[in-house]
C-alpha cells in the first residue's frame, strides 16, 4: 500500500490531555535503566532546584507519540508500521516535563518525501500545558522501508 501524499501538511487535532505522574516517570526511567534520583525522588528533585520530579529528556516521546501515533495510524495515510524505523529525532525544550503537568500534543505532518525506495515522514509535535505554556517541540522523521 502506498503512502497517501495528500496528508503532507495536515494538522491533526490536539490529543486528549495527558497527565504526567511520578509513577509514569519512574516507570520510564526504569525502562531506560536510569537510576537518577531526580526522576523518582521529589526531595532529590527539589534539592536540585526542580519544582517536582522531572522526566528524562526523551520522555517527551511518550507524549508526542500519543498524538503522532494516532495521526500515523490514520488508515487513510496507508503507513505499514512493521516497515517503519526511526530516522531522526529532535527535541527543543522550554523546560523539563514534570510530574503534575497536564499537557496536550498537537501534531503536524510537515513532510512526506521519497528517499530511494523508502518514504520519509516528518512530524512536528508541540507539547503544551492546558494553560497554553510551551513545554517541548518534538520533531520526528520516520522511514517506511521499501519492500
Amino acid at each position: 500500500m502506498a503512502i497517501n501524499r495528500e496528508y503532507a501538511g495536515r494538522v491533526f487535532p490536539a490529543s486528549q490531555p495527558y497527565e504526567v505522574s511520578r509513577v509514569k516517570i519512574a516507570e520510564f526511567a526504569a525502562a531506560i535503566g536510569d537510576a537518577n534520583p531526580v526522576y523518582r525522588d521529589p526531595a532529590a528533585a527539589r534539592a536540585a532546584g526542580h519544582a517536582d520530579v522531572i522526566a528524562p529528556p526523551t520522555f517527551a516521546i511518550v507524549i508526542s507519540m500519543a498524538g503522532s501515533g494516532a495521526a500515523l495510524a490514520d488508515p487513510g495515510l496507508g503507513l505499514n508500521y512493521a516497515m517503519v524505523v526511526h530516522g531522526e529525532q529532535r527535541f527543543e525544550y522550554t523546560r523539563p516535563i514534570m510530574a503534575g503537568d497536564v499537557v496536550t500534543a498537537q501534531v503536524t505532518l510537515t513532510d512526506i518525501r521519497d528517499a530511494g525506495r523508502n518514504v520519509m515522514l516528518t512530524t512536528s509535535t508541540e507539547i503544551r500545558t492546558a494553560a497554553g505554556e510551551h513545554v517541548c517541540t518534538a520533531v520526528s522523521t520516520i522511514v517506511e522501508r521499501g519492500a
Binding site: 525502562a31 531506560i32 516521546i61 529525532q89 529532535r90
Partner: protein
C-alpha cells in the same frame, strides 16, 4: 552518578568519558511498555526477520535515551537539557542470548553558549558501528 558540573568548570573540548550501556530483550520489552511503542520488530524475532531485518532491533528512542543518560549523569541533577537531537544511522541489533548487546556512548563539549548553556557532541556505537550521527545536546548548567 557524578556530582554537579558548573558552567565555569567546562571548556570547549572537555571530554565525557565513554559508558557502555547494556540492552537486552528484556530492556526492549520494558521499553515497549513504558513508552507505548509496541512495534513488533522490537520484540518478535520471527516478524523482524520476515520484514527483512537481521534480528530484533532496539527502539531508536531507547538508544537516544542512553545518549541522554550520558549527558544528564555527567551534567548533574541541577542541569536542564534544552535541546537534544540525533539521527539514527544504523540499527542496534539485540540478539536473544541473555548478554544482549551494548551501546557505547561518549561525548565532548563542542562549544560554550550564552545563558550558561553548553553544546555537547555525542557518539554512540554498537557492535563497532556508529548508531547515531549528528547527535547533539544542549544543557543549561548552574
Amino acid at each position: 552518578m557524578s556530582g554537579q558540573i558548573s558552567y565555569d568548570s567546562v571548556q570547549a573540548g572537555t571530554q565525557i568519558p565513554a559508558v557502555s550501556y547494556p540492552v537486552t530483550r528484556l530492556s526492549l520489552i520494558k521499553y515497549c511498555g513504558a513508552s507505548g511503542d509496541f512495534n513488533v520488530i522490537h520484540w518478535n524475532e520471527r516478524v523482524a526477520r520476515a520484514v527483512g531485518l537481521p534480528d530484533v532491533i532496539a527502539h531508536g528512542m531507547f538508544t537516544m535515551a542512553q545518549a541522554g543518560r550520558l549527558v544528564t549523569d555527567w551534567a548533574g541533577p541541577a542541569a536542564v537539557v534544552t535541546e537534544f537531537g540525533v539521527r539514527f544511522s544504523s540499527m542496534v541489533v539485540v540478539p536473544d542470548p541473555d548478554a544482549g548487546a551494548f551501546i557505547e556512548v561518549s561525548g565532548q563539549v563542542e562549544e560554550k553558549l550564552e545563558g550558561n548553556r553548553v553544546a555537547i557532541a555525542l557518539t554512540a556505537r554498537a557492535a563497532g558501528t556508529k548508531v547515531l550521527t549528528r547527535a547533539r545536546a544542549v544543557v543549561r548548567l548552574p
